[in-house]
Amino acid sequence: APPEWDWRSKGAVTKVKDQGMCGSCWAFSVTGNVEGQWFLNQGTLLSLSEQELLDCDKIDKACMGGLPSSAYSAIKNLGGLETEDDYSYRGHMQACNFSPEKAKVYINDSVELSQNEQKLAAWLAKRGPISVAINAFGMQFYRHGISRPLRPLCSPWLIDHAVLLVGYGNRSDVPFWAIKNSWGTDWGEKGYYYLHRGSGACGVNTMASSAVVD
C-alpha cells in the first residue's frame, strides 16, 4: 500500500450526508461504497439514494438497522440505485418508489475484504472506498483527532455503526483511517472520523466489504 491515500482529493467521494434520527448508517455506508466504485469504473461521481434502500430493501430494517451484505443484494436484485436527486432522503421508511428506468448505477456483485489492515489499505488505494462497520464507542462525544479507545472499551465484537473508509495516512506518526460518517458536517472533523489504523481499533477490520461494478 502507498504510505497514504485519500479518495476525497481524487473526486471519488460525495459530500458528507446526514442520516438524521434514523439508524440507517448501513445504507449510507453502502451507497458511499457504490458511489466510489461507480466513479472508479465509469468515471462519474453520482450521489446515490439511501432512501431507496430504506424503502425497498425488505431484508433490512430501514431506520432500525441493516447489514451491508443484504443491501448489496437488494441493489443487485432491484436493478440498481437511483440518484439522491431522483429519490431523496426522508429519514423514515416509506412505500417503495423505485423505478428501474430511473436507476443510474448498477452493481454486479459484492465481496468481503481481508481483515488484515495492511491489505485493506492496499485494496482501498487500488480499488476505492470501503464499507466497514465499527463499534461506535465514544463517537457520541468525538470532536477531532485520532481516536484510539482502549480495546476492552471498544470491543470488535460489539459492532453497531456502519461507515466508509475513504483514506488513510499518518498524523505526527500516528496512523489513521479517514472515515466518512453520516451524521452531518457539524459532527467530528467536518463530518469525518479519524480512527487509529493497524490495531484493529473498534473492530474496523472485521466487516469490510465492497460492491463490484464491472
Binding site: 447489514l67 459484492s110 477531532h144 459532527w187
Partner: protein
C-alpha cells in the same frame, strides 16, 4: 473518580522510597504533573506508596505520592513566610504493554510542619482541583463551542462532586445554553430543559472519562449529541443489526492477485 472535598494530610502510615515496580508509573505521573510548568516551579517526587492491579495485558497502579514544590525564588511573587510546600497526590496510572496513561490525578497541599493540615486547608488554601490544569474555574473564559482547542478539564475535575458547587453549576448551565443555541435545540417544557441539562452534565463526565482512556490524539467534549442519554443515542443513531451474522459474501481477491 471523585475529587476529595478537602485536601488531605499525610497519614501516619510509613512512607518508603518507591519500590522498583512503582517507580516507572510514579515518574510518569510526575512528568504529567509537571507538564506545562515552568522550570523553576516543577515539583520533585518524594515518597511513593501504592498497589498494582493486573488487568489483561496491563497493570493499573493506584499510587499515593508526596510531591515537593521548590522554594519560591522570586521575591515579587513569593508569599511570606517562605516555606517549601508539599503536595499529597493520588494517581491512577494504567500501564499497557509499557505505555503509560494517567487516568486520575488528585492532589492537595499538605503543610508538613503543621499538624492538622486539613484545618489549615479549610481555613484558606485553595482546593487542589482549582490549582491544577490550565487555570481556575473563575478564570475560565465564556465557553465557545466552535473553539476546537477548548477543553473542560478544570470543569470536569469537579463534576463528580454531588451536589455541584454553585459556580460550577452556573458554568455548566452557561455551556449548556451555548449548546442549545449552537445546535438550535428546543425543548417542550421547562422540566424537559432541566432534564436535558442534567443529561448534558452527566455526558460531560462521560466524555471526560472517554478522553482519559483514549490512547490516540482524539478530543472528546460537546457535540450535537450531548443532550442525549446513552440509550437514546444508541437506539436513535446506531445499528444493532450489525452484530448479527450477515449474508455470506465472496472473498475479494487481494490487490496483489488482481
Amino acid at each position: 473518580a471523585a475529587a476529595p472535598a478537602q485536601p488531605r494530610a499525610a497519614s501516619a502510615q510509613a512512607w518508603v522510597p518507591p519500590s522498583p515496580e512503582l517507580r516507572a508509573p510514579a515518574l510518569f505521573a510526575l512528568e504529567m504533573f509537571n507538564r506545562g510548568r515552568a522550570a523553576g516551579t516543577r515539583v520533585v517526587l518524594g515518597a511513593v506508596r501504592g498497589r498494582v492491579h493486573r488487568v489483561g495485558q496491563g497493570s493499573l497502579y493506584s499510587l499515593e505520592a508526596t510531591l515537593m514544590e521548590p522554594p519560591c525564588n522570586d521575591p515579587t511573587v513569593c508569599q511570606l513566610p517562605v516555606s517549601k510546600k508539599t503536595l499529597l497526590c493520588s494517581f491512577e496510572v494504567l500501564d499497557e504493554l509499557g505505555k503509560h496513561v494517567l487516568l486520575r490525578k488528585d492532589c492537595g497541599l499538605v503543610d508538613t510542619k503543621v499538624p492538622g493540615a486539613e484545618r489549615a486547608q479549610a481555613a484558606g488554601e485553595p482546593k487542589s482541583a482549582f490549582t491544577q490544569g490550565s487555570g481556575t474555574i473563575s478564570s475560565l473564559s465564556q465557553p465557545r463551542l466552535d473553539n476546537r482547542n477548548e477543553t473542560f478539564s478544570p470543569v470536569f475535575s469537579l463534576l463528580n462532586e454531588d451536589p455541584l458547587p454553585q459556580d460550577l453549576a452556573v458554568k455548566m448551565a452557561s455551556i449548556f445554553r451555548n449548546f442549545v443555541i449552537t445546535y438550535n435545540r428546543t425543548y417542550e417544557s421547562k422540566e424537559e430543559a432541566q432534564w436535558r441539562l442534567s443529561v448534558f452534565v452527566h455526558n460531560m463526565v462521560r466524555a471526560q472519562k472517554i478522553q482519559a482512556l483514549d490512547r490516540g490524539t482524539a478530543q472528546y467534549g460537546v457535540t450535537k449529541f450531548s443532550d442525549l442519554t446513552e440509550e437514546e443515542f444508541r437506539t436513535t443513531y446506531l445499528n444493532p443489526l450489525l452484530r448479527e451474522p450477515g449474508k455470506k459474501m465472496k472473498q475479494a481477491k487481494s490487490v496483489g492477485d488482481l
